[in-house]
Every structure is written in structure tokens, then in C-alpha cells.
């Protein structure tokens, strides 16, 4: 099993450009998450999904959109990138999102917005 994979690994955008980050998991997990990690701020939840076709807002959703058309994939979109969105983005998944679940993280995408 590959676990959780993310593409791309690195990306540089200019302000106003758009892009989509792809997350894929092969563990048949129901729940998937997108986080951003900034120095001194830990991991902050952007959006999450509790199953195919569903999405919900997390702690910092503004400027991002997501889609979960297939159970194994969770896409994070930036419609008009801003320098404040420069960050490392992590995708994670968990089996059912229940109290005893752990989250499995992907390797991350390092995004720079100029």
C-alpha cells in the first residue's frame, strides 16, 4: 500500500494564479483532511470530508475549495493564489473519524506564492 500520496511535492505560483493539489489514499478510509502548516502555528485544518461527495469547512477555509468526487481522492483548489497561502500543505486520512481513529499523513506539498 502506498498509503497517502500527494502531488505535486513542490510548486511556485504567482499571485492570482490557480492550482489544484491532489491527495490520494489507498486504505479505503472514509475521512480525509487538508491541513496547512506554518512556522509556530502547528497544523491548521482547512477543509475535510467525511465521505465521498461530502465536504466541510475547517478552521481556515477562506481562499480554498475542495472536492471529493471519489472516495480515494481529495482535491484542494486555490482559485486565486495569494502570498498568505505560502505554506506546506498536508493531506491526511482516517478510517471513520471516530474517537479512536488516528490520522495518516501524506508527504506534503510545499507551495510558494510570489
Amino acid at each position: 500500500n502506498a498509503g497517502v500520496t500527494q502531488t505535486p511535492k513542490f510548486r511556485v505560483l504567482k499571485t492570482g494564479q490557480s492550482m489544484t493539489l491532489l491527495c490520494a489514499q489507498d486504505m479505503n478510509h472514509e475521512y480525509m483532511y487538508w491541513y496547512r502548516q506554518d512556522p509556530g502555528m502547528g497544523l491548521r485544518l482547512i477543509h475535510y470530508s467525511v465521505g465521498e461527495g461530502t465536504t466541510a469547512k475547517g478552521e481556515v477555509p477562506d481562499g480554498y475549495n475542495v472536492s471529493r468526487l471519489k472516495k480515494q481522492n481529495f482535491l484542494l483548489g486555490l482559485e486565486s493564489a495569494a502570498p498568505s497561502q505560502t505554506s506546506v500543505y498536508f493531506c491526511a486520512s482516517s478510517y471513520l473519524g471516530q474517537i479512536t481513529d488516528t490520522q495518516y499523513f501524506g508527504p506534503g506539498t510545499r507551495l510558494t506564492v510570489l
Partner: protein, 110 residues
């Protein structure tokens, strides 16, 4: 809003010294999880504590969950260079969301 505060932000120790990081929540947590992130890597699950007052050990690592389920600690005995990284606590709040602390970055001097 709900917050999970983690201290210290950074800790430099000599190899062989002990290390502790603390996590405090403004609200009662359903459980608390601990993750380790190596430099340049991604967070990896270490352990989960669910019961009030629970203590779990993994070799040189000791994890505690407070009686009120609002705080937790991770203690490493006799640190080694392989312990280098950032340790995150993450509390599960009653909305079903996992709230991460800011992390403690540990540096170990050989």
C-alpha cells in the same frame, strides 16, 4: 474558539538529558494524540490517550493524560539524536475535530 496550547516551542538538550513537552486545552478533550514530525517529513502518529489519568510508555517515551482531560505531557528519558524533530499533541474536541498544538521542536546535541 477551542485551542490547544503546547509549550515550549523549542528545546535544545544535550544527548542523554531528559525532555518534556506540555499540552493544555481550553476545553475537555475526548482523547489526545501525539505525533512526531522529523525535519522535512510529515507527522507520524505515536500514540493515543483516551482515559482520564492515563499513562502509556513506549520505550523511553512516557505519555500522560491529565485527570481533567485538559492537559497532557510527553516525556523522553535520556534523549538520543534520533529523537530530533517536532512533537505535536492533537486533542479531539466534542465537535469531532482534531485540534493540533503548535508543536515543540527538539534539538539534541551529540
Amino acid at each position: 474558539g477551542q485551542q490547544v496550547m503546547q509549550i515550549p516551542q523549542y528545546q535544545h538538550v544535550q544527548e542523554g538529558e531528559d525532555f518534556t513537552t506540555y499540552c493544555n486545552s481550553s476545553t475537555t478533550l475526548s482523547n489526545i494524540q501525539w505525533y512526531k514530525q522529523r525535519p522535512g517529513g510529515h507527522p507520524v502518529f505515536l500514540i493515543q490517550l483516551v482515559k482520564s489519568g492515563e499513562v502509556k510508555k513506549q520505550k523511553r517515551l512516557t505519555f500522560q493524560f491529565g485527570e481533567a482531560k485538559k492537559n497532557s505531557s510527553l516525556h523522553i528519558t535520556a534523549t538520543q539524536t534520533t529523537d530530533v524533530g517536532t512533537y505535536f499533541c492533537a486533542g479531539l474536541v466534542n465537535t469531532g475535530k482534531l485540534i493540533f498544538g503548535q508543536g515543540t521542536t527538539l534539538q539534541v546535541k551529540p
